[in-house]
Every structure is written in structure tokens, then in C-alpha cells.
């Protein structure tokens, strides 16, 4: 188990310990996502002073505040827009956005597709727990059909987004997905996102045990993450035909790469050209 208890990574070095105990519910997957993120930050040697975390509103929005870095907890749905200003003004920073399925895909959906299109060097970690947990368990854009929530008392009738397909279609530089149970794989995915010079969209399949799991009789946290794992198919397996009994609902791993110029670099090159009397982009 050296992989999950790696030498040299001490999560406490990256947390604001005086804020403990944290406010996440027992069984919530967001803490595992936080661990994977900090593990990736550690392995890449990113300095805490140079690290900016921008988050929105909801359970995901509160995760960033536990990180001992420059943390911004902004308005609902707007962390990508805030982070765009921060990164353009301060290209020297490593800017990570932590958002949720409601924050990112519903109220912040416009900012997501344009962040993907712009391809500014941001890493967007969308913690998908399929529900608005903070407000008591209402249906979200990623809630599966037929699921019970406090606003779909007879079961969800709306189809769910595939956030990764959305991000890929909108032009995100790097798109990936992982479940919290595969923590080392999640760490590896986040590392790839952090190293990618452009916009990376990473969907973390998290679990809301207390509200969503309970409401839908999905079992304890362990059962939820196990069923999540079995619902996924690693992208590396390819389109093999030998898994007929797996629903293969969603792929995990790096799912798309759109090799395009990073926007901040492009703008600064353009600006330098203008400042030196040349034409834009010269």
C-alpha cells in the first residue's frame, strides 16, 4: 500500500489544520478528491504560495478553504470566470478551480464552455456527486434519470449531462474522469491536468452518501464507491467487446486532448506585437 501512503507526502502539510474538523459528511467523496489533489500538488512540487484555489458555492465550494494556499470562495457558478481574471493578471500562479456539478454545469455552464473554448491554463476539478448536497438534495444536471431527490419526488425525469463530452466538444485542452475509489489513478489524472499547458477539465465521480445515497437506497459509502467503480470503464480498455455484462456507463482516464495554443501565451504574444508597433499576433 505504499501507493496510497507514499513516502514524502503528508497531507497535513497542505491543510489548514486549525479549521479541523472539516464540515463534510461521513462518507462524502470530496475529501478523497481533496487528498488526491494535494497528493498531485505535492508530487509536482507546486509551492503553496504560488497556488491559487478558486471555488464556487455548494459542498465543492467549501473544499478549497481547507487548503493552505491562496484560496478564493466566490459566487455561485463563477469560479471559472474569477479564475480567468486571476490567471490572466497573474500568469505566474498555478490556478486550480474546484467546482461541483450544479456550480459548473447549471448556474456556471456558460463559463465552463467558454473556459474550454478559450483554453487558458487552468485546471478545473468538477466534483460530481449528482446532487445539490448543500441545499438539501435537489436534482442537479448530472442526476441520473429515475433518481429520487427532494425536487424529483417521483424520480428524475430529466436526462443527465455527460460533462466530459461537453468539455471536449467545447474545446477543452485536456478532458478526463476518475472515481474517488481509484485514488492513485485520480492523483495521476490531476497531475496530467496540472502539467497540461492549457485548460484541463477533470470530472471526479464523488459520492453524496448522507443525502443522495440514503434517499436512493444506494448503501453506505463503500457500496456507493464500489458501484461507481463497476459502472465505469477505464478508457485504456478501449472499445473491447468482451465486457457484455458491464453497463459501461462512463469512461474514466484521459478522454480527450485538443492540442491548441494556451490562451494567456497567445494574448501576451499578441499584446507584445501591438506594443512593439507590429500587427496583432505578429
Amino acid at each position: 500500500m505504499t501507493e496510497t501512503n507514499p513516502a514524502g507526502f503528508e497531507i497535513r502539510d497542505y491543510l489548514r489544520l486549525d479549521l479541523m474538523p472539516h464540515f463534510m459528511c461521513p462518507g462524502c467523496g470530496h475529501g478523497i478528491a481533496l487528498r488526491a489533489l494535494l497528493w498531485a500538488v505535492h508530487e509536482l512540487g507546486i509551492e503553496k504560495d504560488e497556488l491559487a484555489i478558486v471555488s464556487g458555492i455548494g459542498c465543492s465550494g467549501r473544499v478549497g478553504g481547507y487548503i493552505d494556499a491562496n484560496t478564493y470562495h466566490v459566487t455561485h457558478g463563477r469560479p471559472l470566470a474569477f479564475a480567468t481574471g486571476l490567471k490572466l493578471a497573474r500568469p505566474d500562479l498555478k490556478v486550480i478551480v474546484i467546482t461541483g456539478d450544479g456550480d459548473c454545469l447549471a448556474i456556471g455552464g456558460n463559463h465552463l464552455i467558454h473556459a474550454c473554448r478559450r483554453n487558458l491554463d487552468l485546471t478545473c476539478l468538477m466534483l460530481n456527486n449528482e446532487v445539490y448536497g448543500m441545499t438539501g438534495g435537489q436534482v442537479s444536471p448530472t442526476t441520473a434519470e429515475t433518481r429520487l431527490t427532494t425536487t424529483t419526488p417521483a424520480g428524475n425525469t430529466e436526462p443527465a449531462f455527460d460533462a466530459c463530452q461537453l468539455a471536449e466538444a467545447a474545446g477543452a485542452g485536456l478532458v478526463g474522469r476518475e472515481v474517488t475509489m481509484q485514488t492513485p489513478a485520480l492523483r495521476n489524472l490531476i497531475k496530467q491536468g496540472l502539467e497540461y499547458p492549457g485548460f484541463s477539465f477533470l470530472e471526479v465521480i464523488s459520492d453524496c452518501t448522507e443525502i443522495y445515497g440514503r434517499k436512493n437506497d444506494l448503501g453506505e459509502s463503500a457500496e456507493m464507491v464500489l458501484s461507481q467503480k463497476s459502472d465505469m470503464r477505464p478508457e485504456a480498455y478501449g472499445n473491447v467487446a468482451d465486457q457484455p455484462f458491464r453497463p459501461n456507463r462512463l469512461l474514466t482516464g484521459v478522454l480527450a486532448r485538443n492540442e491548441r495554443p494556451e490562451y494567456g501565451e497567445t494574448y501576451r504574444r499578441h499584446a507584445d506585437g501591438v506594443a512593439n508597433g507590429g500587427k496583432a499576433g505578429a
Binding site: R16, L19, K48, D49, E50, L51, A52, V54, G65, D68, A69, N70, T71, Y72, H73, V74, T75, R78, A81, F82, A83, T84, G85, L86, K87, L88, A89, R90, D92, L93, N110, H111, I113, H114, Y267, H270, A271, D272, V274, A275
Partner: protein, 379 residues
Amino acid sequence: MTAGMANLHGNHACALGAIAAGCRFFAGYPITPSSEIAERMSRELPLVGGTFVQMEDEIASMAAVLGASAGGVKSMTATSGPGFSLKQENIGLASMAEIPCVIANVMRGGPSTGMPTRPAQSDIMQARWGSHGDHPLIALAPASVKEIHDQTIRAFNLSERYRVPVMVLFDQVIAHLLEPIELPAAGSLDLVERRWANGDDGYQPYAAGADGIPAMTRPGDGHRTHTTGLTHAEDGFPTQDPDTVTRVMDRLLGKLDQHGQDIEAFECHDTKDAEVLVVAYGISARAARRAVRQARERGIAAGLFRPITLWPFPEQALRTAADQARSVLVPEMNAGQLVLEVERICRDEVRVAGLNRVDGQPIEPSQIARRIEEMAADD
């Protein structure tokens, strides 16, 4: 732009004032009649090492401005009524998290889409109360192209000094008016730079000294603080403890009070003995100035009080200007907004009346002059 005389539109004067003030980040979204500010900034910012970005919507442009400002860069956006409505949520965050920013709002006829190419002064109350909850901010109302330039510079100075959003409110007429102005030489301006935390271990991002204004920090300075729109204690972290909330909200809501002298700007014309006092701002004040002069020529003791700072309203200055007045007239291109504040301040002493236009036309001097004569005759 080099120093010296220039013929400029108000919108261009706003952009050049911002650059002169040290603004190095602009995020915006196209909207009539303010778009020339964004257009000019897109050309000017690259020349001074700054960044322009056209965001996907009004909300995003306000959020991006806050992100850039949090990074330590003087930042602004520009908009008009419908966009101003959309920016309100992040203006609230700016007030709450005390992130300096400047918002130019070129007012047009409303409500809703209204009259995009016609002037109005109908966002006076939205400027003050558009965002939910009690929140501190400053709003300025220039009345000429030159003043748009100068008040935009002042907006940055006030915003950086007091850590509040500062709005520059003008209207479609001055925005597109061409007037000659003298552009100041670089280095001749008094510019306020943000007070940065000095790196001490005990730094608390929302703990203030006697002036009520905390020192700021930015990523890379080593303080690694938390910034949130949640109600937070001096350490920046959320709290709901009633005593703490009372203490921090008292400071936040009261932090401008002791700086009124610096914040409140106004002009008085013939107010000392004025029996009919006109209170007007922006483009309407120019018509009022002429009307007051005409009234004086006809032997009526009229005067003009022109607030340049609308919020916080220069209350004491108005009381002084209205000292001899028996009636006060408030002409504005809306259905009666600032008149409510004027009534609040001096209704016990004088009769207060509004003169309003909501047809997308500027108020004419003759309209104001006629009302002055009527009020003088009534006294």
C-alpha cells in the same frame, strides 16, 4: 495618448482616465452605449503591459475583474443598465470581500432593454442597492468629458484606498459627447496604490487599524489567506457567531464614515443666498447651471448644488447649501430617484420637488428655469 489637448468622447475619456490611473486589467461585454470603453481599452491595455478580455457575459466580466484585482492588478469593467443588473451579484462579493474594482455604468433608458441608444439617469438607486444585503460602495457622477476622465482616476484612487467597488455613473449623452480636454502628463497625477500587508506572521486579512481599512495581500506574498463572500471574521474564515458578525459588519458598513471628507465631492453655485436650490448631477446639472444663471438674471435667488459623489451622499454639504432655501428642485432623467435622498435630508426645512423625464431626452434648461420661477413665485 500623450499629454496635452485632445478632443475626446466621454467613453474614450473614461478609458484613458483608467489607463492613467494605473488600470491594467479590463474585462467587459459589449453593450450600448458603453462599448467604446471596452473597445478603447482593448487597444490601450496591450500598449502598457495590461490585459483586456471580452468575457462570455456581464456576470463573467465582473467576476474576472475581481479575480484580476485579487491578483493585485487595478481592474475595471464598463456596462449599461441591463449589464449593470447582471453584475450586481459580484459587486456584492467585491463589497463583502473588500476587493477594489471600478465599474463604469453608462446609463440608458430602462427598465429592461429600454432605450439602448437614449440617455437616462435611472440607475441611481440600483447603484446603491442593486446588490442584496447591506454593503459599502461609492458612486460618482461626472458631468462632462473632462470630469469623466478625472473622476475615473479618482474612482480608482478611492477604490484602492477604501477597498470598495466604485461606480462611475454617466449617461449616453456625455458618453458620446465630443469635448476638448487637457490630458495630464504621466507622473503628474496623485495615484493611490494599494496598501499591502508587510509579511508579518500575525497578519489578519480583515483586521483594520484606526482608519477601518485592512491592508491587502495577494498570492505570492506568503500570507496564503482565504477570501470568501461568506460572512467572515478578521482571519478571513466564515463565522456566524453573533458578536463577531456584529463587530466585523460594523466595521465593513461603517468604514467609509470617517473618510467623508475625502470621498464626498460636490460643487456649489450661488448657493449662499439661494432661496430656490436646484440639486442636479451629471448631464442634468449642465442644464440646471444654465437655468440657475437665467433665474439670477431675472432676479430670482436661485442656486445649484451638484453632487459629484452620489453615494455616500454628501449630506452635510447639502444641508449647508440648502440653509437659506425655501424650496429644492431635483431634476433627473428618471421617475424620481435621488430626490428621495434629498427629501430624506432636508424635507423638514424645505419643500422638495422633482422634475423628471423618462422619454430618453435630456432635460432642457428652459424646463428647469420654468420650474424655478414657479417655485420662487410660490414661496
